[in-house]
Amino acid sequence: MAEQSIGKSVLRKEDMRFITGKGQYTDDVNLRGQTYGYFVRSPYAHADVGEIDVSAAAGMPGVVAILTGKQVAEDEIGGLPCGWMIHSKDGSEMKQPLHPVMAGSKVNYVGEPVALVVAESFVEAKNAAEMVSVDYSERDAVVSVTDAQSAPVIHEDAPANTCYEWELGEKASTEEAIASAAHVTTYELTNNRLIPNAMEPRAAIADFNPATEDLTLYTTSQNPHLVRLILTAFIQLAPEHKLRVIAPDVGGGFGSKIFVYSEETALAWASMKLGLPIKWTAERSESFLADAHGRDHVTTAQLGLDAEGRFVGLKVKTTANMGAYLSTFASSVPTYLYGTLLAGQYKTPNIYVEVDSVFTNTAPVDAYRGAGRPEATFLLERIVELAARETGRDPAELRRINMIQPDEFPYQTPVALEYDIGDYEASLNRALKMADYDTFADRRAASEAKGKLRGIGFSCYIEACGLAPSKVAGELGAGVGLWESGEVRVNPTGSVTVLTGTHSHGQGHETTFAQLVASRFGISVDDVEVVHGDTGKLDFGLGTYGSRSLAVGGSALAKAADKVVEKGRLIAAHLLDEDAEKIDFEDGEYRVKDSNQAKTFQEIAFAAYVPHDYPLEDLEPGLAEKAFYDPGNFTYPAGTHICEVEIDPDTGVVEIDRFTAVDDFGTIINPMIVEGQVHGGIAQGIGQALLEGCVYDDMGQLQTGSYMDYCMPRADDLPSFAVGMTSTPCTHNPVGAKGCGEAGAIGSPPAVINAVTDAVGVPDITMPATPEKVWRAIATADKNAA
């Protein structure tokens, strides 16, 4: 009998290979006869493409072929589709301009691929790419969301550079509520554009076998089946059964590896055309230019409060940047993953949100850790904080009196979602205690005594994970289902192979899913192997994004495991010569109730595969089960983050002195892994709040194209986080899990900015709150005080 492992911090099974450098990433795969691809990219943000002269490059050593966007068009490959149809207020469909695999007659952002050079080595491919001469005629570029709708048009089929004008909620009642409110807080904000920066850059190897006409694509994907589906059904590169997509070890994604990009598609097409394996690994500079970016909203909001401080209405107008083209799920991020979250943890009865999404001459923007929910949370938790300050209320108490109470679930918000369960006040109370809120004034006084400024900031976030159900998502425009598959194969010796359609790229699924299944069977975690990331091995799956893997994929596995247990019970009934309903399964043993007659799980497995004494007339041999799970609702993780900062007024440098996060993720399988996810998320959130910001100049040139200019959070920017948990298990999935991957990045940015502005004594500082901005804000605040 193995120890019950759910809720235990089992060390990660995958870590030994990662920390000893034995991970197998896409770039570690090398095939016989492999060639190398290098992309020629546009240095202009907006330009007509004239002749592409490849003659000099073609004669360079090692060059195998040079393929251009014109050839892509001739072969009728592409464009790249967007998988979520959004309808505008007037009912019209969003504008989806052609997103070519490589640019044809016009380039629309710096870094857009225009040609692919294939050579025998990486260096030869790169050298030849430098010799490809492209005749560009530059056009004026538009970069900022606020200019986009009045700028020259990028795509003729998207007038005013507008993709859609979407709305959600009741406009009239919201405006009425705000008009009659006792106090109205207004807030204008920019949610800064971010570059994902996964540790492993994107890479791919396309390998077409001319003999069998099978195409294998190794790629850094969070969802290999989705890649296969899009390349076959939408881009029509190959029949679905002839394309195998393998996403081996993947070093971080944060959303940026969900999408189907130009490069992998061009590589697959080129491999089929040339009959050769081709490898491409992005250089870091290419990642900056051509990975889908995140965020980039400009928003105006009004929050109305009654005389007691209760929220009566929230009205929001956002303009969201889509970049030059619609990336795979771009359209859903500022709509159904943003507007639907604007109720937060509160009982605001009237909410109305309008979102205009616009095209600009910048890299495509799509989901990045949190995807819409950080933008919603930032807006809401900043405006609530401002309302507390403006009305002279304690920010924690203002939140408390507006929170949905535990006995009010299920709770229908005015923005479409129905929250199933939560206890927001429990998390708030726990966080206030862990953060020593009642002694904050003493710490502030101590900071002042040494000439420093101290501030505290709150964020009570909610998010929606495990996007679902498929039927509802389909009605809202989703192009795919949102279920997950799982398969549990019990081997004849009783060890177990688990196959999941989710994908692990840092989340520790090989451990968490092993714990989940092992605990169901009462066997050791070491006896469970988790297989993922290969369309050749798995039925189908929708991959990992939106903190869905455990809540959705884990639920499929739980269902499959339960089917195995039930089949095992029938086998045990036969072997023990007893009715199945009289047999219990516990701690890895099938036992006749109230007796010592028992068979181990391993004995049952053996009997299933060596069916010499087996009810063959009633039961098939073997012990393997599949399940598909389509969730009944989103899950709703929620919690409270409290940030405490100390600022040096002479330099504007912000030191995060304390950071407390109390989260309700429902049932937790592995607390160590969950804490790690929270830590990583908070680090990214602090990065957004204080350090990271993607900047394009007026010509659409990326100014933050390297780590010299794009500042990532480092260990010394971060305190030791205080992480606590509360738990109200999800009511509608068999695991009770809600998802934990994005919460840190969602909850933390407003807590940080609330703390910084509290310390400085100004209403707002735009993210990233760099030392320069903070120093200027201090100078302004001092001048106003004087």
Binding site: P43, E130, S285, Q701, Q703, S706, M708
Partner: protein, 161 residues
Amino acid sequence: MELSQRVRIPVSTEQVWRALNDPSVLQQCLPGCQLFKSTGDNEFEVAVQAKVGPVKATFEGAVELSDVYPPVSYKISGSGKGGVAGFAKGAADVSLEATEDGGGTLMSYKVSASVGGKLAQVGSRLVTGAARKMADDFFSNFVRLLSGDGNMQVDIETLET
């Protein structure tokens, strides 16, 4: 990058004007300039090797003179492509006036420069400095050449940046 400066040159405006229109003088004064060849009326083919931070490249392109009012002012503008390094564009409005003592020329110029591609991506922070240095070097060299004193300390007055 934008830069507005003024410098005094101890020769007549006519002499300065002639030099400003002489490709060989311009080539001599522009650091890293490998080619400055007339291709037509007020049009030139130019190649300049430049280094900005980690990026070193030869920019090949065209320069043209416009708004030409001899011997008082013109606009010189050019753009060049540096292969994978990206591209650079620059222009200078140059105007001349005789000094009050009559013996010299006061040359004012307003320079703007911008870059794109790899240069902008990895070197944007360095471009302003590099462009200013190139402008400084060019005009200092120009003054020294016209003054006939290769070692003279050139006193450039910055009006605005």
